[in-house]
Each structure stands twice: as C-alpha cells, then as structure tokens.
C-alpha cells in the first residue's frame, strides 16, 4: 500500500491547491493553532493526524471558514485557495463553502428524504435547470458515494432511517452533489463499523480523481491507507508534513516518531 502511494505521489502536480501561511487560531484566550504553514496539492488525499486537541480539526475548519460560525474563534494569517485569499473581505464565506465541501465526524443527514438531502446543495446554489437535471445530479452523487444501489428504491424515505455507514455515505453524496473542488472530512469514519469504514475509504480514494481531499483521522492505519501526504499536528503546531510513506517509515521529528509508534497521544 505504501509503495503504491509512493509511485502515485510522483505523478501529482506541483501547483498547490491550498496554501496556508502563518495561520494562528484563537478560541477566546486559548491559542489553538500556532503558526501553521502548509501546502496542499490538488488531486491528492492529505491526512491530518495527531493526538486529541492538537488543533487538526480546527485547522480543517479554517479552510472553509466554518470557524466563522463560532463567535469566540479568531483566525489570523493567510490561507489561499488557487492563489485567492479566502479571508479577504470580498470573499463570501457562503460561496467559499459551496466550493469547499465538508463531511463531519458524526453523520448528520437532514431530517428530510434521501433525495432532498442530496438535492439540498444543488437547489440552494441553483445548479440544476429542471427536475430531470436535478434527478441526474442526485443519481450521480449517490453513485459516487456508492449508495445508489442501496438507496435507489427508497429515495423518498427519510435519510435518518439509513444505517450509520449509509448515513455517512449520504453525507458524502450531499457534499459531492454541490460539485466542490475541495472536500474536507473531519474524522468521517469515527462513528462507523469496519465494513462501512472500508467502503468510505474506498470512496475517498475514488474521489481523489476529481477533488483535493483533506481528511482528519485518529487512525494512523487509515491515514496510511488512504492518503498520499500526511501532516502531524501536536499542541497546535504543525510538527511534520510530507509524503505519507516517509512520515510513517522515517519521520524526521522525534515527536512524530513517538506518536506513530504509540508513545505519545
């Protein structure tokens, strides 16, 4: 697995999709993210790993400005997507979030039908010209999320009636249906059983064809399985960032080594 990652990394492009420079995040008086620099490439899966409370989810939420919804959060520094500063005053966070989709830790389907869950984003952003168009978007999204076969006969039933794994794939379909360029995933498998996890991981690998995927995970095996690049966060610092294979086989920083061998965390 790691070997294939190595070869795949060789073909990734050099222009970074997301560039972060000197990012600081404060929650009230707490300094949650300290001076993080990172460059995330297009069409790769980037994993953020680190012990609980190290700031990896916080940093993830900076990329689509979800931290704006928390009144006490304050973000400093420079984050650019395709060279455009997303914290610029002219940028509408709502439009940004349509471009940068997000999947959350706990599956959170809306209390609506499966169809309406997936159609939610396209309807809001006016992505479909007519009903047939919308049907197609919904079907494609569900197919991409490997949920179509299970859900096609029950599209009008509530999304909350699905199993945990299906719900999470529904949330992925919901995010994909909005046609984002970047997909942020905050521990998407933490509430799932191993089989559902395997399905979601397979899905993440497929999504890489079209999107840049950033995934926060507590499972180092998962990071090794799905990602090409890995960033290790510790106490709000980005300790080490590089090829996944390299991080897991020959980390440069002693803290990374301690974490991946299970001594801290």
């Amino acid at each position: 697995m790691k070997d294939t990652n190595m070869t795949e990394n060789a073909v990734t492009t050099d222009t970074p999709k997301i560039t972060a420079r000197g990012v600081q995040v404060y929650y009230g008086d707490t300094h949650a993210i300290k001076d993080v620099d990172v460059e995330i490439a297009a069409n790769t899966v980037t994993a953020f790993i680190g012990p609980s409370g190290c700031g990896k989810s916080t940093f993830l939420r900076c990329i689509n400005r979800m931290n704006d919804t928390i009144p006490i959060a304050r973000v400093e520094g420079d984050i650019r997507i395709d060279g455009e500063d997303i914290y610029d005053k002219r940028v509408d966070p709502v439009q940004l979030r349509a471009k940068v989709g997000m999947v959350f830790q706990k599956p959170n389907p809306f209390p609506k039908s499966i169809y309406d869950n997936v159609a939610y984003g396209p309807r809001i952003h006016g992505l479909s010209k007519n009903k047939a168009d919308l049907d197609e978007i919904v079907e494609n999204a569900l197919r991409r999320a490997a949920l179509w076969d299970e859900a096609k006969d029950r599209l009008q039933q509530p999304g909350t009636g699905l199993s945990g794994g299906q719900q999470q794939r529904l949330c992925i379909a919901r995010a994909v249906a909005t046609a984002p360029e970047i997909l942020l995933m905050d521990e998407p498998c933490s509430a799932l059983d191993p089989i559902a996890t395997a399905q979601v991981e397979e899905l993440i690998d497929e999504l890489r064809q079209n999107y840049s995927v950033v995934i926060v995970t507590h499972s180092m095996q998962q990071a090794a399985r799905v990602s090409q690049k890995t960033a290790f966060f510790h106490l709000g610092h980005l300790v080490e960032y590089g090829e996944t294979g390299k991080i897991f086989t020959s980390p440069e920083d002693p803290r990374t080594e301690s974490y991946i061998s299970g001594r801290i965390g």
Binding site: Q95, G101, M102, F104, N108, F110, P111, Y120, I124
Partner: protein
Amino acid sequence: MPTSWILLILAALGIVAFYVSRARAIGSVDGDARRLHSLPIYYGLNGAMTALVPALLLLAVWLVVQPTLLDRSILSDLPDSAIPEGSTPGLVMGDVRRVADGVEQGFAFNQFGTRDLSSLNTEAVGEILSAGGTALGTPLTADVLSAAVDYWQARVVLSWIMAAAVIGIALIGTAWAIRKSQGEFRARNVVEKGVLILLMAAASIAILTTLGIVLSMLFETMNFFRQYSWTEFFFNLTWKPSFSGRGGASELGILPLLWGTLYISFIALIVAVPIGLFAAIYLSEYAGKRFRSIAKPLIEILAGIPTIVYGLFALVTVGPLLRDAFASPLGLGNSASSVMTAGLVMGIMLIPFVSSLSDDIINAVPQAMRDGSLGLGATQSETIRQVIVPAALPGIVGAVLLAASRAIGETMIVVLGAGAAARLDLNPFEAMTTVTVKIVSQLTGDTDFASPETLVAFALGLTLFVITLGLNVLALFIVRKYREQYE
C-alpha cells in the same frame, strides 16, 4: 370516638410496627444485617405499610359511605307526614342533622337537665336547642326530634364500631408484618411494589379528574337538552336568554358565541404566531448571548401579567385608539369594544407562549444540522428556513396550539375588550362576545339551577371542550404526518 383520635392511634401503631418489624428482622439473623434479603429499613417500612394502608383505606371508605347509608336509613323510618308541604326530604334531613348536633351538644353540657328527652315536650327541647345555637328551618316537630335522637345515637354507635374496625385491622396488619419480618422475606420488593401503586394512583387521579369533569358537564348538558331542543341550540342564529319570562321565551343559539370565539381567537393568532415565531428565530439563531439573556426574561414577563390587566389595557387604550384611528374614519362603527381590540390585545398576551416555547424547541435542534447546512454553502437564513424550522415543526405546532387553546378559553380580555353583546357579524370593529363570557354571565348572580338559561352554560362548556379536543387531535395528526425527525 373522634376521627382525629383514630388517626393518632394509627400513627402510633405505624411507628411501633416500623421499629418492631425492623428489630425482628435484624434479630432473625443474629444482628448481621448483610444476611438480610433487604436493607433493615425496608422491613420497617413494610411493617408500617402493612399496618396502616388497609386501615386507612377502610377509614376513608367508611367516612364516605356512612353518612349516605345513615341518611337513607333514618329517612326511611321518617313518616311521610314529617315532610311538610313545599319541603323536600333533603331539607328535612338537614334539620335532622342539625338537631342531632344540637342534642349531642345539649347532653355534653347538660342543657336539658335530664338524660331522658321524652320527659320534656317538643317545644321546650326546641327552645333549649335554639338557645344552644342550633338554627332550625321550621319549628321542631316530634317526628324530627325522634329522628334526630335516633340519628345521634346511631352515629355514636357507628363511630365506635368504625374505630374498633379500623384499629383492629391495623393491629392485624401489624401482627402480620411482624410475623413475616424474617431474614429471607423480600421486604424491598414489597415496599417497591407499594411505591409503584402509589405512583399509579397519582397518575390515575389526573385522568379520573378529567373524566369526572367531563361526566359532570355531560350530565348537566343532558339535563339542558331535555328542556331545550338541541337543533335550536346548535343552529339558532340568535342568543337572547331571558331570565324573567321562563319557558320558551329564551333563544339560546350557540352560533353567535362560537363565531365570536373563533373570530377573536383567529385575530389573536394572526398577531401572535408570526411575531412570536420571528422573535423566537431571532433570539435563538441571530441574537448574541447577552441580548438573549436580557430579552428572553423580558418577553416572558408578558406571560406573567394577569389577563385582567390586559383587559384594562384593551378597554382604556387600545379600544378608543382603534375606534378613533380606524373604525370611525372608515365608517365601520363607533364602538370602542370590538373584536379587533380584544383580538389584538389577546395576540400580545399570546406572544410569549409562542416565542418562548418555539425558542426552546429551535435551540434543541442539534448543532450538527446547522453545521451540515452551512458546510454545504447555505446561508444562515436558508439553513433556518429549510432545515431548522422543519426539524422544529412539531414543537412549533405544539406551541401554536397551546396559544390557540389559551385564546379560545380567554374570558377577561374579551369582556373588557369586545363587550358582551352576542352578534353574528363580519365587521371586526363591532362588539361581539365569546362562549366563555356567556358561561360566566349565565352562572353569576341569582341563578336557578333547573332552568335552561343556567344549564346552557354546561352545554356551552362541553362544546368548547370538544372543540379544543378536536384541535388537539388535528394538530397531533398534522405533526405525525409532516414531522421530520432528527436523531
């Protein structure tokens, strides 16, 4: 023996049963409490429970049943001639009871000077009783006096029998509990069963009371419909009760009152629901923490104002204002009391019901729903409209329904705001009135509980009850059908 003495003796017995049972249980395992099935206190509680519960139940039943049976037996012994023309057996029994009380008191203070009342003539006894403070409806007759003496004697005997029976049962219970208090006896299970029955009894009291209220209204309503045709009541378009001319002169049609009730409630809800709901959305989704912490209690103060104060506000301020600003210039009438006045003021009263409940319900929608929607690039307003409000809908409907029930049942604001004239009219600036107001006016003052003019109040009440019940069922149905449940 007075009941209070019986209760004291029972209390003492209960305490004895508690300590003896506990001590015996501990004794049966040689003082090693760990070998008991239950904690020692459960043996004590079981003792007290077994001693007291059957005895108290018997006492309660006895106290309820005895007067009825005793009255019936004394009355059957009373010759028909003892009931004078124009009186009823009930009134005579009232005299008998009062004389019996007087006789009891007379003997206690030796006011008669003798133990044998038959040696005195009836008039002399009557004078002694009057001097002792017994009020008699009619001059004392020999029949009533002898019935009263029988009554008094029977009462004394019965009270001793009751005391003996109750205390006897308590003693048997105590002995039984003490005998059972052995180490292996499952006292905890028995006590918990007793607690369960207590809880069930508490729950059934609420249900039984509702049932009782409905039944009592139902019987009075049936009385009413025996005297007044139901088609007239439900379909007559005039409400014109007359108290002087009895028998057919009154027109008691419910429609004008029902129309007034629904019209005023409708206006009140038109005012209260949007304002309350928007206030709730602002407070729960947009307002800052500090504003919310100040505004929410302030809005809830509105709910604490007595409705009579709202009524005054309607009468003194809103009514004249509406008349001068709208009704008179538009030529819609010049009455200060109007449907609009009552509706507006009632709407203001209902705002906190809607807003406060809706606010709590909207707050209960999980943050994950908001994150999910915002994360897809929805604006805050889209999130509220398409995710939060649908998810909170069952609760919001509940809040609106509570407000509707309050509106339908409201009386004071209507009396002062809309007046008391029953009228079928579309003009919102006319005075009208509601079912509740008419219930009050039919039941206040000098009323004769046999005339249809009074009994109509129960029919009105029952109709109102059925309407509110129907509203509740309808709302339940709507909520079931359209609810969007989140996990």
